[in-house]
Symmetry: C2
Subunit: 135 residues, 2 copies
DNA sequence: TACTAATCCTATTATTATAGTAGGATTAGT
DNA sequence: ACTAATCCTACTATAATAATAGGATTAGTA
């Protein structure tokens, strides 16, 4: 199936949604894993880039966990997905910089792939965590 | 990298573009593989669903090959991609029918994934082979 | 001070999907 | 007969995905 989002991006959004629900209080990955039925160890790998990007803050030790570093209205689904998965580029030759060798020279569809990427980003960036909370 | 199109869909569009360029004459996979530097054996697997779906016609034997079964203006990139790769469904729980077990229950983002799928289809369906020829 | 609950960090592994390859059977022009 | 093509099935190598395992560090609490 084309244009699939892996579980990494999927779970990252679930995780951030739970943090948004928790508000200012710190929330442990074990809690989130319990609610969403996902492996805590896997969530650890997913939350790291979000922390490094400054989207969440962490607190170690007893009573620790994670909380949003910004208000839910200032974090979009696009921010989350791109942070854990990288930029949305449907095919390599549609990305920035030189066209890789694997991509045939006369790829007339390159403009189409670029438009697809932009359309995806546009949808992802139009939805904030606050929007998700209000549903 | 999220929302990637595999080479199958990518090559299918290249292949159909070459058939469109060839017009009414039959074109062999070896020819196309030569132009696009892709394995002919792999193209065979890709062209089969296109033939089964009635998008191309084949002729066997000496001088045989493939040709478009419809005018280029009536074949969109979306037709091609969905035929070889299946429907555009970014995450499983955003598809038709019941939500699979793997998808957590409170996946508030499901509507977002659906909108992403629709946006992708919209772009893909807005471009025909004739559009590609005219670039 | 011990205990516990949490983040941190690295490495390993099982499963699946992708991207082919290989080999032969059939068909049809020359 | 020869050749060039589609047809068809099966196999395989590689890479990405989706985790798991095991321990080190940190910070509250009894």
């Amino acid at each position: 199936m084309p244009f699939r989002l892996s579980t990494r991006g999927h779970y990252a959004v679930l995780l951030m949604y739970e943090l948004a629900r928790a508000g200012d209080s710190f929330c442990s990955l074990a809690d989130i894993a319990g609610v969403q039925k996902v492996s805590p160890g896997y969530l650890e790998q997913i939350v790291r880039p979000l922390r490094d990007a400054g989207l969440v803050e962490s607190r170690r030790g007893f009573g620790g966990g994670y909380t949003l570093a910004l208000p839910p209205s200032q974090i979009t689904v696009g921010n989350i997905v791109r942070t854990v998965e990288g930029p949305v580029v449907p095919v390599k030759c549609a990305g920035e910089g030189d066209v890789p060798d694997e991509c045939p020279d006369n790829c007339q569809a390159r403009r189409v792939w670029r438009k697809v990427g932009e359309a995806i980003d546009s949808v992802l960036d139009s939805v904030t965590l606050e929007d998700l909370l209000q549903e």
